[in-house]
């Protein structure tokens, strides 16, 4: 769609080192204020519901850090969140909205499970890479379908990616309840993948090595976005597609490529969920990672370097939300509202910040 406005507002580039420091300080301040205000407003809602907001927040903030188990759970949750957030952020840099991370994750997970089940006897140094690569490729192909519909037929990418999510639900359900169904599970689930397809666990309590993979991928994305020609082309298309085209960048190809790379990352998230967390394909394993990935990408304002940190914060909130429901009695959906409020206040802080700067000049 050509009517998309630039989603990411880059702050004016200030030349001096001190100016840059000020800009960074302003941004950090905006985050702090937005988070605080979101917690205050949500606290009022919690109090209105007849619960103690301080108990609720204590449960949210401390669960992840109270025990090693809490921390590992948080880090395991962080992996799909950061990958799905990047799957949303990379196309966003080119001005495209990938709302299909869920489908790309599920198709990636399905392909990984298929490889892990069909070739279950292979040794780990063959099977594990195969499982991961299958997930990545399947996610990329699934995203490419949406990108192709966008590029060839002019279908809005929001729609094509979203509609393919629903197609992926059918695929997962079919594979998990008809093809390799585990009848003992009582829920559409496949039989376990081969031992060799599982990500090795390290430490105590055990943490799977997909975490390391996600860290590497996130770092690589930052480097590519900032320091490489494709990354530059991507940002150029997002900033001004027409100017980019005039300067010889193939706008259509860049947009398609950004969606395909995003799909590959979402597919990797699916593969890691299968190989690291569940060891099989389970219907509904995508949880609400799509929504959270989008929220993280938007809160990070499309900045790939900020994504891992924001994702960690959201992972803490998510892990804490069930503890909050248990101990303080506040429904866990409250966390989704907190996250939406953070985003809204962050957007408003731009408006307020611009006013303040104008009036101080």
């Amino acid at each position: 769609m050509t009517t998309t406005t630039a989603p990411v507002q880059t702050p004016p580039r200030t030349e001096t080192r001190a100016g840059r420091g000020n800009a960074l300080a302003r941004q950090v301040l905006a985050y702090v204020v937005a988070v605080l205000m979101a917690f205050v407003v949500a606290g009022i809602i919690i109090a209105a519901l007849g619960h103690n907001p301080f108990d609720a927040y204590r449960a949210i903030v401390t669960t992840s850090f109270k025990s090693g188990f809490g921390l590992v759970e948080t880090v395991h949750k962080w992996v799909p969140l950061v990958l799905l957030a990047l799957a949303f952020t990379i196309p966003l840099a080119a001005g495209k909205y990938n709302i299909g991370g869920e489908g790309q994750l599920l198709v990636g997970a399905t392909a990984s499970a298929a490889a892990g089940i069909l070739l279950a006897d292979l040794p780990i140094y063959v099977l594990l890479p195969l499982v991961l690569v299958c997930g990545v490729l399947a996610g990329a192909v699934f995203a490419w379908v949406a990108a192709w519909l966008m590029d060839r037929f002019g279908i809005n990418e929001i729609l094509s990616t979203v509609l393919l999510n629903f197609v992926s639900f059918g695929i997962v359900d079919y594979v998990a309840s008809e093809v390799w169904s585990d009848p003992a599970a009582g829920h559409p689930t496949t039989i376990p993948i081969g031992e060799g397809g599982l990500l090795p666990l390290v430490g105590r309590p055990p943490m799977h090595l997909g975490v390391l993979l996600a860290v590497l991928v996130a770092a690589a994305v930052v480097v590519v976005m900032r320091r490489s020609v494709p990354g530059f082309e991507l940002r150029a298309v997002g900033a001004n597609a027409r100017a980019a085209q005039v300067h010889g960048i193939r706008v259509g190809r860049v947009a398609v490529g950004s969606l395909v790379v995003g799909g590959a990352l979402a597919g990797l998230a699916g593969a890691i969920e299968v190989a690291g967390v569940h060891g099989k394909l389970i219907e509904g394993m995508q949880s609400n990672y799509l929504l959270l990935g989008i929220i993280i990408g938007l809160i990070a304002r499309g900045n790939a370097l900020a994504v891992p940190f924001v994702a960690f914060g959201i992972a803490v909130l998510e892990v804490g939300s069930s503890a909050m429901q248990r101990s303080a009695g506040v429904p866990s959906e409250m966390v989704l509202i907190v996250e939406a409020l953070i985003l809204l206040f962050l957007l408003f802080s731009d408006v307020v910040g611009a006013r303040l700067r104008r009036s101080s000049r």
């Binding site: 769609m1 009517t3 998309t4 406005t5 989603p7 519901l49 909205y97 519909l149 037929f153 002019g154 279908i155 809005n156 929001i158 729609l159 094509s160 979203v162 509609l163 393919l164 999510n165 629903f166 197609v167 639900f169 059918g170 695929i171 359900d173 079919y174 309840s177 008809e178 929504l291 989008i294 929220i295 938007l298 429904p331 959906e333 409250m334 966390v335 989704l336 509202i337 996250e339 939406a340 409020l341 985003l343 809204l344 957007l347 408003f348 731009d350 408006v351």
Partner: protein, 310 residues
Amino acid sequence: MNEVTSFLQLVVTAMVPFILAAQGTMIAGRAGVFNVAQEGLMMLGASVGFLVSLTFGGNLVGLVVAGLGGGLFGWFLGWVTTRFRLDQFVIGLALFFAAAGLASLLYKVVIGVTLQPPLIPTLDDLSVPGLSAIPLVGPVLFQQSAMVYFAFLLSGGLYWLLYKTNHGLKLRSVGENPKAADSLGVNVARTRIWCSAAGGALMALAGAYLPMTYTGTYTEGMVAGRGWLAIALAFFGGWRPQYILAGSAFFAGMEVLALRVQVGGLDVPHQFISMLPYVATLLVMMFALRWARIPAFLGRNYDRESRTSH
């Protein structure tokens, strides 16, 4: 009642959420506000409509409160995108999360977790005297609930408003060329805000229709992508109320067909049948969408002080 009649009757029943949500998308879009919160607003409408109907007894009050809630969200979208010119997609997505979270939250707060969810009575069928006796057409079109008549009349009313009145002309001009509209004295911000509010209200009504027609209760995932399909329908219908009405018959037909084939026990795995509405939508958009024209300022904020017209 024969097979064809009952099939068509189900299709008309299933058309209503598509009509309401897509007309809501259309009316906001024609003024230039691209709402992408349909799915969340429908969840919120379903939850609020169910809870209010349950608490106060009577579906009308549930519909009204759900509509007001959706209208508030739509108004907010219109307000922040005109007053502060924040990005429409980003705000829309944020509202989607907030509405989806609120829908489940309200249900949990009021009902809690129960094995046996409480039920509200579904909407009664109202037969139109005389007309309902016509063979085929009578049972299909004139033995339906009040919301069906409302959705059809609304579509007609919107057509009349947009194309036969001065207000409609101004409304369309805001979505096509706000600068020109502004220079002729049309209040661009106010038009956008209230169109967006009306759109949000219609989306929430579309959601509230679901528990009141199908299940009698709110369940998570009951919207099942209808909100996203409504956006597709708005594009598919070329942002014109009459084609949206026609298009919703196609979307509803796909939905009913998928259910029918599942029950009918065809030799195709039901999971593939359940993909049918979404795949069919994509196929139709591939081949039938070429002619569709979208409002020129759809999704773009109007800055009065900008020097360029675009």
